[in-house]
């Protein structure tokens, strides 16, 4: 009876550890190989959040710049780099997201998406051709996502908005100088590697 209890305890711990490990693994950039392409996913990254999401809910479009870099052999050798700009908007009546790729020709777009699906769609478009990459070479990947800052308009200390026919308004200058420092640009980064192409293929099988 005691051994049975011990086995059960181990089983419980194993279940916990495996679940936790899977969850931890999911924090990183996940690479998957299809034919001669590598696809990327990052289920823990939620760039449709915070200030960009506030702007989207205010019916504005928000551009996100994506960049994925793939190194092979050593971390000094960039094998390929892929960049794209996705302009996301949020339908205030349907409460769904739409997204347009600005770099790809012809421009791809998708709509009627929920937030996680929108995020996943953007990463799907970043898949990379790895023809010529040795299956046994170590490779590393880095994902960088940046939300474009909200335009400050023709402002600045002596911008057009603060000068008129009556001159420079000191009240406006006081207001500008009293502002808290601008919040840093919304920015997300993830890394993966070292990995091997053959491992990605085997993992898929």
């Amino acid at each position: 009876m005691a051994s049975l209890r011990l086995i059960r305890s181990w089983w419980v711990i194993l279940a916990f550890v495996s679940g936790f490990a899977l969850a931890m693994l999911a924090e990183d950039l996940i690479l998957d190989s299809h034919d001669n392409r590598i696809e990327f996913s990052a289920p823990r990254i939620h760039f449709l959040s915070g200030k960009p999401l506030d702007r989207l809910r205010n019916a504005a479009e928000v551009p996100f710049d994506f960049s994925i870099t793939l190194w092979s052999g050593t971390k000094n050798h960039i094998f390929r780099r892929s960049v794209d700009r996705f302009v996301v908007s949020y339908d205030i009546w349907e409460e769904t997201f739409s997204v347009v790729s600005k770099v790809q020709q012809p421009g791809k777009s998708a709509s009627h998406l929920k937030a996680p699906a929108t995020e996943a769609w953007c990463l799907e478009q970043m898949s990379m051709d790895v023809t010529g990459l040795s299956a046994t070479e170590p490779l590393w990947a880095h994902l960088d996502i940046r939300a474009e800052d909200e335009g400050r308009g023709p402002g600045g200390l002596f911008g057009k908005g603060n000068i008129s026919e009556s001159g420079i308004s000191l009240n406006s200058l006081i207001e500008i100088l009293s502002r808290p420092p601008p919040s840093p640009q919304a920015h997300w980064q993830l890394d993966a590697g070292p990995l091997k192409l053959e491992d990605l293929r085997n993992h898929r099988r």
Partner: protein, 450 residues
């Protein structure tokens, strides 16, 4: 058959009553729960995007469209918050024009900048929410409260001119129940023959029974300093101090035509050692026309500005000098994309003998910019004609000025100047050269709002 007397029921009762069986069962429940919890963690945290692949439906975006909301129609626009009532009718009209249009968020941001600029707000926020019926949206421009000092402080203008030195003006103003009160300090060596430095105070009410009529009272006290060239030409007409009181009214005849009328009472103490204080009291009137076509939001903008002013100093008002001063000025401005073209004209004539502050001057930061006014005519003239062409591409500008200032026809000499510089917003920095002067001594100037 009684459903409560099934064969399982007694067994269940029996199991519950057995402590060992109860522990085994509880253990199973706990294990299953833990397994399910860990599995849920794995599924929630570790979900593969491929497992929840976006269901891409028929796209709502047309080609070239970036914002899915641009298919919605704006049903209403409102401005709320600080100084909302100060927005001009021109801008309100531009705001109202977007009602019925499709939503264009960048255009809304431009309008917010226009509001910010016009009322000196620190920030204007655009809010877009669902409208009262589907496929329509309501737009609100919110002006958050500013650091309200109760007083507007402005650096109205400043200028450095290589032949004249520094000029600057600062104002403070406040508004109490529709009445504007202003107070300012000035030291100006550009506008007139002399440098006048002192204080200004004013009161203005922009609505006297009707929006068409406004009244204002202005007071100024100046101390005057003269250039050697003027003193050598005729020191007897110069003065040390000057006080001005100007009660005036403006009546809008028909938009965009308005008429200013009133009187100007000036008392000045002549510089000569035993000279008395003199008065120049005059009826003043100006007919003004100002029209704009397009707005800052459009590629092509045009602006026309024309004034005719008459100043009549007469013994009826106990004026020492008697004269009539007429002047006409006009400005046409055309802006297309990054190109800006400005054409300006000034003409004037004085009948009688006017004090130096009312005589015409050329050769400063706005007229015959390559010349010094002290070299052209240190006493000013009773006749003037002047024209300018300015062209600017982005921030680079080039200009050509021509004109003449004279008292007697025999003294009339047309002068010309050319120059180049930089112009950004109200700031300007330029160098100008006289044409046909026999020398190429350039004039430098730079500043704001002159």
């Amino acid at each position: 058959m009684n459903p409560f007397h099934t064969p399982h029921t007694p067994k269940l009762i029996k199991t519950r009553c057995n402590p060992l069986a109860l522990r085994v069962r509880l253990g199973k429940i706990v294990m299953k729960t833990l397994f399910l919890v860990s599995l849920c963690c794995a599924l929630v945290w570790g979900q593969n995007p491929n497992d929840t692949a976006p269901q891409v439906q028929a796209t709502a975006l047309t080609e070239g469209q970036l914002n899915v909301n641009s298919r919605y129609t704006i049903e209403s626009v409102q401005v709320i918050g600080w100084r909302e009532k100060k927005i001009s009718t021109h801008l309100r009209s531009a705001l109202n024009q977007i009602v019925g249009e499709k939503l264009d968020h960048p255009h809304l941001d431009l309008l917010a900048q226009e509001i910010k600029k016009e009322i000196h707000a620190a920030n204007v926020q655009v809010k877009v929410v669902r409208g009262s019926i589907p496929d329509q949206v309501a737009v609100t421009f919110e002006i958050p409260p500013s650091h309200e000092l109760g007083v507007d402080l402005n650096v109205a203008r400043f200028l450095y001119h290589s032949a004249e030195g520094w000029s600057a003006e600062g104002n403070a103003g406040t508004r109490i129940k529709g009445n504007n009160f202003t107070f300012g300090m000035v030291s100006d060596s550009d506008a007139a023959l002399e440098r006048f430095a002192g204080v200004r105070a004013g009161f203005e009410r922009s609505n006297v029974g009707t929006d068409r009529l406004s009244v204002r009272f202005g007071f100024a006290a100046y101390h005057d300093q003269w250039n050697d060239a003027t003193l050598q030409a005729d020191a007897a007409d110069t003065y040390r101090t000057r006080y001005i009181f100007e009660p005036q009214a403006t009546f809008v005849l028909a938009e965009p035509l308005a008429l200013d009328f009133g009187v100007r009472v000036s008392r000045y103490r002549l510089a000569a050692p035993l000279a008395n204080t003199e008065s120049s009291n005059a009826v003043v009137s100006t007919l003004r026309y100002h029209q704009r076509w397009g707005s800052d939001l459009k590629d092509v903008q045009q602006e026309g500005n024309a004034n005719y002013s008459v100043t009549v100093a007469t013994h009826v008002l106990a004026s020492d000098p008697t004269y009539a001063r007429h002047s006409v000025s006009a400005l046409y401005r055309l802006k297309h994309a990054h190109n800006l073209l400005e054409l300006s004209f000034l003409g004037g004539k004085i009948a009688g003998i006017a004090p130096l502050f009312d005589r015409f001057v050329l050769g400063n930061a706005t007229t015959l910019r390559g010349w010094s006014k002290y070299a052209l005519d240190p006493l000013g003239g009773s006749h003037v004609v002047h024209g300018s062409i300015n062209y600017a591409y982005r921030r680079v500008q080039a200009f050509y000025d021509t004109g003449a200032v004279w008292d007697k026809p025999s003294q009339k000499q047309q002068k010309q100047s050319v120059g180049v510089g930089f112009k950004a917003s109200a700031f300007q920095l330029a160098v100008a050269f006289p044409v046909g002067a026999g020398h190429t001594e350039p004039i430098f100037y730079g500043g704001m709002n002159f």
